[in-house]
């Protein structure tokens, strides 16, 4: 396989962006990535667009075809990738294999979601809940927050973990997001405030849960052999992995284990010939605080049951043993579903380029992501390194 490089990135502000459509956001991030990669006058072979709910929330199909037309990339191949909240990671994986196989040389990946205009109570929750198993889960009133609540209680019971340790992850991610100009929330919160916030899915509270957001993120990828023609500091994608788990969450032997993450991260580590000890920074999918704790275990940084304790003890802070979510994560950067997997990789690109400003992880050479689809039943992991 050919080596694959990232040569440019584009990232809109995440948050409530009332005056921009889904397509506006995709265009903004894509053109910024094209400019950043010095490919403005170059033909692209393929474009992958990640968006989970374009049809449901934006009444739009053919979004990839519309993007290539709007930004002048005709006649590039254009595909719309939909893999729930892991759509962005899936799009990058597909672009990686298109280049690695030799089929494509220059590819754009653009992920976006436009969500905040849905004001009907429970509207977005219901749209996202269509991912759940209809007969076993959905008709009973299950939603993704409810799964996170079930998981949090199981984890606290099994490993005797106080809720404060789990919620400390939100406090850390808000602190990191303060220094991310693209973040939905740029404000610190205290543990006291988070622990006094309203219950949403007991024992999870408001500040344990990411917001819904508008936003887009895009990257330009190419054959690494030609990367330096466009860019002085290309970042290599050296490992990718993807794996699935049971659709019905209670059919997993242990609810607190993310088997799909164990498998897909091993695929990424093995492809890159790396181990968890080689990783300098991790972008986790903290849609709920409990997920960052458990992902930090199943991706190999901490023993089972010790992820929340590690966060509480500061081991996942910038400057800690393994910095997690210096971007602010989904909790503070926000979670425009299709954009998230791409934004995670962009944060790693900025970290590895040394362009992350006040949230910079010192001497970051290697990073990994967890992009979490469904409720852990389809997970993508991307491992990147400095060239």
């Amino acid at each position: 396989m050919r080596e694959v490089a990232i040569i440019g990135v584009g990232h809109t502000k995440f948050g409530r962006l009332n005056d921009k459509s889904l397509l506006d956001l995709l265009c903004e991030a894509s053109l910024e990535a094209i400019e950043d990669s010095n490919t403005s006058n170059t033909d692209f072979d393929s474009v992958y667009v990640a968006s989970m709910l374009a049809e449901t929330l934006n009444h739009m199909t053919g979004v990839a075809s519309a993007l290539v037309d709007r930004i002048g990339l005709l006649p590039a191949a254009a595909d719309h990738i939909k893999n729930g909240p892991a759509s962005g990671g899936s799009a990058i994986k597909n672009a990686f294999y298109a280049i690695a196989s030799g089929a494509c040389e220059l590819v754009l990946v653009s992920g976006a979601e436009k969500m905040t205009h849905i004001t009907l109570p429970g509207g977005v929750t219901s749209a996202v809940a269509t991912m759940t198993h209809h007969n076993a889960e959905r008709i009973h009133g299950a939603s993704l927050p409810s799964f996170a609540g079930l998981l949090t209680r199981s984890y606290m019971e099994k490993y005797n973990v106080p809720k404060e340790w789990i919620t400390s992850i939100a406090v850390k991610n808000h602190r990191n997001g303060l220094n991310n100009p693209y973040a939905h929330f740029q404000k610190e919160i205290t543990l006291k405030k988070a622990m006094e916030s309203p219950i949403i899915a007991d024992p999870l509270q408001l500040y344990d849960i990411c917001p819904i957001s508008d936003g887009a993120a895009a990257i330009v990828m190419c054959d690494a052999n030609i990367a330096k023609k466009y860019c002085d500091s290309p970042i290599l994608i050296t490992g990718v992995g993807q794996a699935t788990d049971t659709h019905i969450i209670y059919e997993r032997e242990d609810l607190t284990v993310l088997n799909a993450l164990r498998i897909c991260s091993k695929q990424a580590y093995d492809m890159a010939k790396k181990t968890p000890n080689d990783i300098d920074v991790f972008e986790a999918h903290d849609a709920f605080t409990i997920l960052e704790a458990i992902q930090s275990e199943d991706i190999g940084f901490f023993k089972k049951g010790e992820g929340a304790k590690a966060a509480h003890e500061g081991l996942t802070e910038i400057g800690g043993k393994i910095p997690i979510n210096p971007s602010g994560g989904l909790k503070a950067r926000g979670h425009p579903l299709g954009a998230t997997g791409v934004a995670q990789v962009i944060e790693l690109v900025w970290q590895l380029r040394g362009e992350a400003g006040k949230r910079q992880v010192a001497d970051a050479d290697t990073g990994i992501t967890c992009n979490f689809g469904g409720f852990g039943n389809n997970i993508v992991s991307i491992l990147v390194e400095r060239m």
Binding site: A136, H140, G141, L150, R153, S154, I200, A201, D202
Partner: protein
């Protein structure tokens, strides 16, 4: 509403793995022949959450409790838990077939709840 509906799973005829009735092939061995297994007796509560932000179909309720239960034969299920207080992991519950909501088309949805 009635209590005649059965709460059923399927057991693989080859490897005896017990799973939800929606599977067409065994999750463990890919075999496609099964015996139907009925949940019987009480079940115990494995975990639960109190959901204060329901999906649209359930917005007539201020909150409700969802839990995962396990029967003596190993079968698991997710459903609403109707005791509102003094919930303890490991407590015994009984399955009852009840109306749980109206779907977005206004149709009554019935399912097992655990009392």
């Amino acid at each position: 509403m009635n209590n005649k509906e059965k709460l059923e799973g399927i057991k693989c005829k080859k490897c005896f793995y017990l799973q939800h009735i929606s599977h067409l092939r065994c999750l463990k061995c890919k075999n496609d022949t099964f015996d139907t297994v009925e949940a019987k007796g009480d079940c115990i509560l494995l975990t639960y959450t109190i959901l204060h932000a329901p999906p649209m179909e359930f917005r007539d309720k201020k909150y409700y409790i969802l839990g995962v239960v396990q029967f003596e034969n190993g079968m698991k299920a997710l459903g609403q838990i109707w005791p509102k207080e003094n919930l303890i992991i490991g407590m015994k519950l009984k399955p009852i077939y009840e109306k749980v909501c109206n779907d977005l088309d206004g149709n009554e949805v019935n399912a097992y709840v655990f009392k």
